[in-house]
Symmetry: C2
Subunit: 405 residues, 2 copies
C-alpha cells in the first residue's frame, strides 16, 4: 500500500509537475466555503499583499456612472468587500446567508483583478475571467442550475458551413436524453447570446443545458433540441476556438447588429433540419435571445414570419439605433408592416422579459406600447435587477416550459 | 455612430458588470506576447507586490527530489524565472526563442500561485489552474495543436448508463467531419487519460481533437470516431460536471487502478457500437492511453484479445504494484498466458512510447524485454523528457496515422 501510494504520488506529479502544488502545499486554503448557516467564506493566501478586496454579485450592488461620448451611462456594478488578514491568510465571510443563485466574483490584490486561485470553477466573459459560486438549494430556482442524477442530454460543438461568410462556423447543439437511441423527431429551440458572447456563453454562464436537463426530467418541459449559435457572424467560433489563435477576445467585431446575422439565419435552420431529426415546421420551432440576441430574435422572427411559433426577447437591445446605421437596413425597415404580417399568422407566443432597472427598459416599454396599441398579444415578465445573467437564466427557465405544448 | 457606440458600451457593461474592466482599465497589460524574434514576454501589473516569479515548462527544468514513505522520488519541475518591476508592471522576456509547442505556466506573487490574469486561455489539471501558451509554427509538430480552417469534427459530451456502477457516466466523443452528413461506418479509437484526469483531459491538455482534425485534413489519418472515457470509474463525470457539485477536485478516488474500469470497459464499447455508425469489429478498433490510461490499455487489451487490433501504451504505468492490491486481481493475473493468446491472434499493432527520463521507463523496459524474449512484435518510440503532456501529444500524433490502414 505504501509503495502504491508513493507511485501514485509520483504519477500525479508526472501528470503535471504543477499538480503537486495542490497536494503538497502551495495554494492550500479552501475557498469558497458555503457554511452551514448559509454564509460564504472566501480566502486568499498572501503574506505580502497590502489590500485584498472581493467583488461579487452576491454583495449589494454599487450604482456607478460614467460618461462616454458626452452621454452619461449609469450601471450597477457588483458590490465590494474587504478581506482581513490573519497570519498570511486573507478572509471574508458574508454577514448574511447568500441567497441560492449562481454568482461570479473576483479578488482585487493591490489593484490587480484576479480570480480566486483556490476555485477551479472559472467563467470567461469576453476577456475577463471570473470565479463562480453556485449556491443551489432544493426548491429554489438555482437548483435548476445544478447537475443532478437525472438523464442528461448530449452537448456538442458542431461546425456548419456558412454560405454567407464562406467559411465554417461553430455552434453548440443540445440533444435531449434519449435522442440518440430513439427514432423520434424533436422540436427545436434556437437560443442567441448577447454582445461579446459566443456559442459557449449560454452553456457556461447561462447553465442552459442544466436547466434543460432538469426541466425535462421533472416533466416541466418537452424534450427538445436546443441550438446555441454564434451571433458574431464574422467570427468562426468562440475566442481560442477559431483559427486566429491566441488573440485577446474583444467585442469589437465587424458585422455586428447590422443585419447580416439575421439575414443568414435561415442557413442555420436549414443545417439543423438536415442534420438532426427535427420536426421541420413552424409549429415546432422556437427562438429566444438575450440583449443583442433579443434584438436578433425580434428581427429574425419578423423577417421570417413562417419560421417560428414561439419567440422570446430577454432584455432585448431594441431601439439602440443600430437599425439606422445597418448595412442590411431592409432587415430593420417596415416594422409595423412586418408585425402585422407576423401576428396575422397567429404565432403561439411572443414572450418579453426585462429587469426593472435594466437600462433598456424604456425601449422595451415603447415596443410593448406599440404592441398594446395594435392589440397584439404577448406574455410579459418583469423582474428585479438589471441587465444580468441571473435574469436571463430566470427568463430561460420560464420560457422553455411554455414551448411546444 | 456615437450613440451606437455608447449603447454598445452600455450593453457590454450589462452583459457582465465585470467586463468593463477589460475595456475601461483594470488588468490592462498584454500578456503573453510572442515577439517577432520568437522570444515571449510575460507581464503582470501590481504596484505593491514584493516578488513575482513565473514557472513554466518552456524554461529549463529543475531536477527536484522529495521523500514519501521513506522512498525518494525525483522529478522534473518546470523552470522558474524572476519578473522585474517597472512602474507597477512586472515583466519577463525569455532570453531565447521559445520552441514551437504548447506550454503551461503560472505566476507566483509573494508566495501565491496564480494564473496570468491577462491570459484567458486556462487549463485545469485536477485542482490546479494554469495559463496556456501555444506557439504553433508551420512545419512544426505544434501546428497540429492549432485550429486551422480545415473541416472540423464534432466534439460531444455524451452520457451512457454504466451497469457496473448503476449510474450515468460522461464521455467525450469526437465524430470526424462529414460523419453527420454521410451514411458510412467508421472505425473507433478509444483514448484513455492518466490519474487525476477525466474525459476532458485529452481534449484540453492533449489537443486531441485539433490533432485529429488536422491529421485527417492532411490525409495523414483515416476519418475515425474517437472516444475519450472517464477512467475514474466511481466518478460520474469531470469535477464540476457531476452531481457532487462544487467539491475540490482530487486524485483520491475509490476504485482506481484495481480492475473495475478494465472489467467494465466492454459496456463502453457496446454503447458506442449501438449509438454510432461504427465498424463494430476488431479490425476497426483501437485503444490507447497515457500513464494510468496506458496501464488500463494494456489490461483491457489482454483481457479482451478479440476487441482491439491496435493498442498504444503512452508512458504506461505498468509495474506500479497496483496489480497486487487490486479488488479484481484476475484482471492482472496470468499476464504471460494472456500475452500468448493476444499475440496468437495477430493484432495489427502494439505501440509503446515513453520519455527517456520518465520515472516509469524501467518498468516499461522490463515489459519490452519480456516481449522481446518471447519474440512478440511491437513498435517503440523513445523521446526526450519525462512524464509530460508534450510527449503524450507527440505519441498520439504518431499513433493515429498508423491506424486502420
Amino acid at each position: 500500500m505504501k509503495k502504491q501510494l508513493t507511485i501514485l504520488a509520483a504519477l500525479l506529479i508526472g501528470v503535471s509537475a504543477f499538480a503537486q502544488q495542490a497536494l503538497f502545499g502551495g495554494a492550500g486554503v479552501e475557498s469558497p466555503v458555503i457554511n452551514p448557516d448559509g454564509t460564504v467564506t472566501f480566502r486568499y493566501q498572501n503574506r505580502k499583499a497590502v489590500r485584498v478586496t472581493l467583488s461579487g454579485d452576491f454583495l449589494p450592488v454599487q450604482h456607478l456612472e460614467f460618461e462616454m461620448n458626452g452621454q452619461k451611462i449609469s450601471y450597477d456594478a457588483p458590490g465590494v468587500a474587504e478581506l482581513r488578514e490573519n497570519n498570511g491568510v486573507w478572509e471574508y465571510t458574508t454577514p448574511f446567508a447568500v441567497e441560492p443563485e449562481m454568482y461570479t466574483y473576483t479578488f482585487n490584490v493591490d489593484g490587480t483583478q484576479e480570480i480566486d486561485p483556490n476555485n477551479v470553477f472559472v467563467n470567461r466573459d469576453i476577456a475577463s475571467l471570473t470565479s463562480v459560486l453556485l449556491v443551489p438549494q432544493e426548491g429554489a430556482r438555482s437548483d435548476l442550475y445544478a447537475i443532478h442524477r437525472v438523464p442528461h442530454g448530449t452537448v456538442s460543438k458542431v461546425w456548419y458551413h456558412s454560405d454567407t461568410e464562406g467559411f465554417d462556423r461553430r455552434m453548440t447543439v443540445y440533444t435531449p436524453a434519449g435522442y440518440e437511441s430513439s427514432k423520434a423527431k424533436y422540436p427545436v429551440l434556437y437560443v442567441l447570446h448577447g454582445i461579446g458572447g459566443d456559442e459557449d456563453a449560454w452553456v457556461t454562464q447561462g447553465r442552459a443545458t442544466q436547466i434543460l436537463d432538469n426541466l425535462i426530467a421533472r416533466g416541466q418541459a418537452k424534450p427538445m433540441i436546443v441550438v446555441f449559435t454564434n451571433g458574431n457572424i464574422s467570427q468562426e467560433a468562440a475566442p481560442l476556438e477559431n483559427s486566429t489563435g491566441y488573440t485577446r477576445p474583444t467585442m469589437d467585431l465587424p458585422q455586428t447588429m447590422e443585419g447580416t446575422f439575421e439575414t443568414a439565419f435561415p442557413e442555420v435552420v436549414k443545417f439543423i433540419d438536415s442534420h438532426y431529426r427535427t420536426i421541420a415546421k413552424k409549429q415546432s420551432r422556437a427562438i429566444c435571445g438575450l440583449s443583442m440576441g433579443g434584438f436578433h430574435t425580434l428581427y429574425i422572427t419578423l423577417n421570417n414570419p413562417d419560421m417560428f411559433n414561439y419567440s422570446g426577447m430577454f432584455s432585448a437591445a431594441i431601439g439602440t439605433g443600430s437599425e439606422q446605421t445597418a448595412a442590411h437596413k431592409e432587415v430593420y425597415e417596415n416594422v409595423d408592416g412586418k408585425l402585422a404580417t407576423y401576428f396575422s399568422k397567429k404565432p403561439a407566443m411572443l414572450w418579453i422579459g426585462i429587469g426593472r432597472t435594466d437600462f433598456l427598459i424604456q425601449s422595451n416599454n415603447e415596443f410593448r406600447a406599440k404592441l398594446d396599441a395594435a392589440g397584439y398579444p404577448y406574455k410579459y415578465m418583469e423582474t428585479d435587477g438589471g441587465h444580468i445573467w441571473k435574469n436571463w437564466r430566470i427568463y430561460l427557465s420560464e420560457f422553455v416550459p411554455l414551448l411546444f405544448k
